[in-house]
Symmetry: C2
Subunit: 506 residues, 2 copies
């Protein structure tokens, strides 16, 4: 469960909505480098002046009172603004520029498939150092306890021996055992059958009847939420996003011929990661949230695959394997892709992990892609690019069709899509140096906020007034101390028991 | 994540606190059968009169506004009443009456260990029917979709092959692999070692330094919450609660000699179960919440065992195995035992599941048992005993030292403790008839409430005024439709997408 603790106390100010709009109309469109210039502006204005700007300042006051007002306020605002904010892109978000050949992704290009290790000896020591960084008990955020949090967080993923993260033949167990009910009219001697039933690893021979597609859709989404998903969307299978080949350390490459059915739909789920832990990026504490996110992904995607099988349909639980989660999430209406290349959801921003289920069930209401202002926002914000420890994130103002850097190696780039091209090799090199994942780009993203009403309010203003307000928001964020990295205080706040009430009453 | 939806709209009334106290002073102490008599009173007074009683009625108004007021109100009340409400029992909650021999629990007596199946042939067909009930698509709550929710919910438990629920030799894998860091300075050829590290199934050879016991305690509890525990307490190991023998289908009995270390502490965790699903007891939908609760238990207890091992300490993840969770939870300050024999926590009532970790780490601040009025409350309420479909729950007003029923079999009863003795055989027989678990006693328990301020307010009044108010609360609960069983509406509300916003914005 994510905690919404910022540990900040902000003086409350009050200003009329119209005054706020007026005060946020800085014109940055002509600036060559919005980032730098706004930094200067921020410098000139100074903290006091930003407070004068009022409503947004007040909005960020994290107190019982403001939240109380906010709960009501946001409800009203929701009704008033939803139609303005949420738009359909009206085109395929993954249009390929004519003349570019599209190459489906090959799993051997993911470093966690161990493909790069096997094909480039130089990667091996990096990988080992990444997996075994050791720790420094004098460095807050990198002590044994911080490291333990991160290791244990992801441990379930490996315990489960799913397609992802299992490095032997079980990795390719696509088996969909069929059992007839009669097999189970049992004198007690068929324990293995009973165990199979308990394990749910079979496709029930009858298909569950649903009166309408909506009824089926509601059932799938409610089950996913019961099992721990925070967001759920459903989209038709899109082969462009499916790996063209799977990496099998034992048997070499495998492909879709090895999959015993043809998927028709993909259920995409997002899992919120702990806000408080994420504020400690890029330390091991932030990686604890990432690690538990992986374990949660694997738990819920497995349960959902069993759920679909019990309904009589084939299903494969998929995490960072089988296909690309982010484009599927975009198609399923979960959010937009940001400058950092991560999915930005409306409710949690990029502070989520994704998992999915491939199934041959298609009697559902499919979700549609959505836009709520992220593209415009990312042009001006660049917080992620500024803090990225390895400068892996581009500072190009607009998305491009090609990366600025050379992809001279086995690390995969697929040009021809209009997007921000980031350098995965640089990113991974910092992981090695850091001895863990990083997540700085998640932590500093202004969309990464607890679900406090004032942040959602800011999102809505942002979507209604693209442009000026974005630069303003970016600066407010920094002023109020959101999205610091290497923040010892964040690590200490995470571990502190203050306000946590672990017994429910104290 | 648990949803707090009652789907009820209640007219709001306002009354001063003192008026409310006055109006709740019905004297039921002399009544022979409080339950029946209060039923009559309730009948005479009628719903309208109960509304007149005012504040508690108002308190149950589930609306934004009342919640808003409540957030503030409850904060104030917390400060004012905590000391009055929470008391230490001041004695061992598990005192054995002199003259009674205490028998430590033998795992072979748990039906899920398959012990009874193996030792009593009559249990086998019951067990099979329980595991494979089939379903009826014309019976809401017992359709294929409801059944799928329940099966898939618990599926992770079996996938993980933990001590509980795995019916072969792996069941007794207590292995605590030791790896030295040097083993991991790896040329890439030692993949199995790397995998072991990734799996976290080893005890790190150095012990993490903690300056104070409080620092260590905070670290353990925060990690548990990050991994999904809602409540966490720590208590010294108490051998009375540990199974005297373990059931091993392959090798027969096993005991603590097979455990490679001596546990000193037990970390006890509670996991909230979905409120909305639980209102659908005893259908498969409620069992979906139970099932996911089991999967969550297994996920987090495994992660916590890995966490302790990474800190350099031995640890065994324990769910419904190794030892008895409820007494350990009481000792760890998580709550009190109710009439139904379940743990009642302050924040979630009995709507939780328990898991624990045995470890040899003992540099911690141990928690202490707590009382907040449950014992007095259960004497008068009896809601669980009234609705229990198999009359397995005693209606004795006071706890006793012996069961009223004969325990003529291999089903375990341990007399000599002052408690409510319930008939597990009758309970299980209904599970078979129901084709699943039941949870009616959880669903109807007045302590089973979403964490709305007014329910916590009621708890506090109850703890301050034991007696009269309890009977009143019990009736209010029924009048406002809490704790119905076999409620088709509850099943439909669960599956409905109304107010669920699966995409975060709609």
């Amino acid at each position: 469960m994510a905690l919404n603790l910022t540990g900040k106390k902000i003086p409350k100010l009050h200003l009329r909505f119209d005054q706020m709009i007026e005060l946020t109309s800085l014109d940055v469109n002509k600036m060559k480098s919005p980032t730098k210039t706004i930094h200067k502006k921020a410098g000139k204005l100074g903290r006091r002046d930003f407070f004068k700007l009022g409503a947004l300042g007040a909005a960020l006051g994290v107190t019982g009172a403001s939240q109380v007002a906010g709960n009501a306020a946001s409800k009203a605002l929701d009704k008033a603004t939803d139609d303005t904010v949420f738009k359909s892109p009206g085109h395929d978000p993954f249009e390929l520029k004519p003349g570019y050949p599209y190459r489906r992704f090959d799993e051997i290009n993911t470093f966690q498939s161990t493909g790069p290790m096997r094909r480039d000896a130089k990667v091996i020591p990096k990988m080992v150092k990444f997996i075994w960084p050791g720790f420094d008990n004098d460095q807050v955020g990198y002590r044994q306890v911080d490291w333990a949090l991160s290791k244990a967080g992801q441990s379930l993923k490996f315990k489960m021996k799913t397609l992802e993260g299992k490095w032997d033949q079980e990795r390719f167990d696509f088996t969909m055992l069929d059992l007839k009910p009669t097999d189970m009219e049992d004198d007690g001697k068929k324990k293995p059958d009973i165990l199979k039933i308990l394990e749910g690893n079979y496709v029930y021979p009858e298909k569950a009847p649903f009166k309408t597609k909506q009824e089926a859709t509601d059932a799938i989404k409610r089950a996913a939420r019961l099992y721990g998903a925070d967001l759920v969307g459903i989209t038709p299978r899109d082969e462009r996003f499916d790996y063209q080949a799977f990496f099998d350390p034992k048997n070499g490459r495998r492909n879709w011929k090895d999959v015993p059915f043809e998927p028709k739909s993909v259920i995409v789920m997002a899992f919120e990661m702990d806000y408080e832990a994420m504020t400690a990026a890029p330390t091991h504490v932030a990686d604890g949230a990432t690690g538990d996110g992986y374990s949660q992904m694997h738990k819920t995607s497995y349960q959902m695959a069993v759920f679909m099988k019990c309904l009589g349909y084939q299903a494969i639980p998929s995490n960072n394997d089988v296909g690309l989660s982010i484009p599927y999430a975009v198609k399923a209406g979960l959010g937009e892709v940001g400058r950092h290349g991560l999915l930005i959801t409306y409710k949690y921003g990029p502070r989520i992990r994704l998992a999915k289920i491939y199934t041959d069930f298609d009697f559902v209401e499919y979700d549609k892609p959505i836009e709520f202002g992220v593209q415009e926002f990312c042009k001006r914000c660049m917080r992620c690019a500024d803090v990225c420890p390895s400068n892996a994130i581009t500072k190009a103002i607009n998305p491009t069709y090609e990366p600025e850097f050379q992809d001279e190696s086995n690390w995969f780039v697929n040009p021809g899509f209009k997007k921000y091209y980031n350098n995965l090799k640089k990113c991974f090199d910092f992981w090695v140096e850091n001895g863990n994942g990083c997540s700085s780009c998640i932590s500093v993203c202004p969309y990464n906020k607890p679900d406090f009403w004032h942040h959602r309010l800011v999102d809505k203003i942002s979507a209604m007034l693209p442009g000026p307000v974005h630069s303003f928001m970016r600066e407010m964020d920094k002023i109020f101390g959101y999205g610091n990295t290497y923040d010892e205080g964040a690590v200490k706040r995470f571990w502190s028991s203050k306000n946590k009430k672990y017994l429910g009453y104290k």
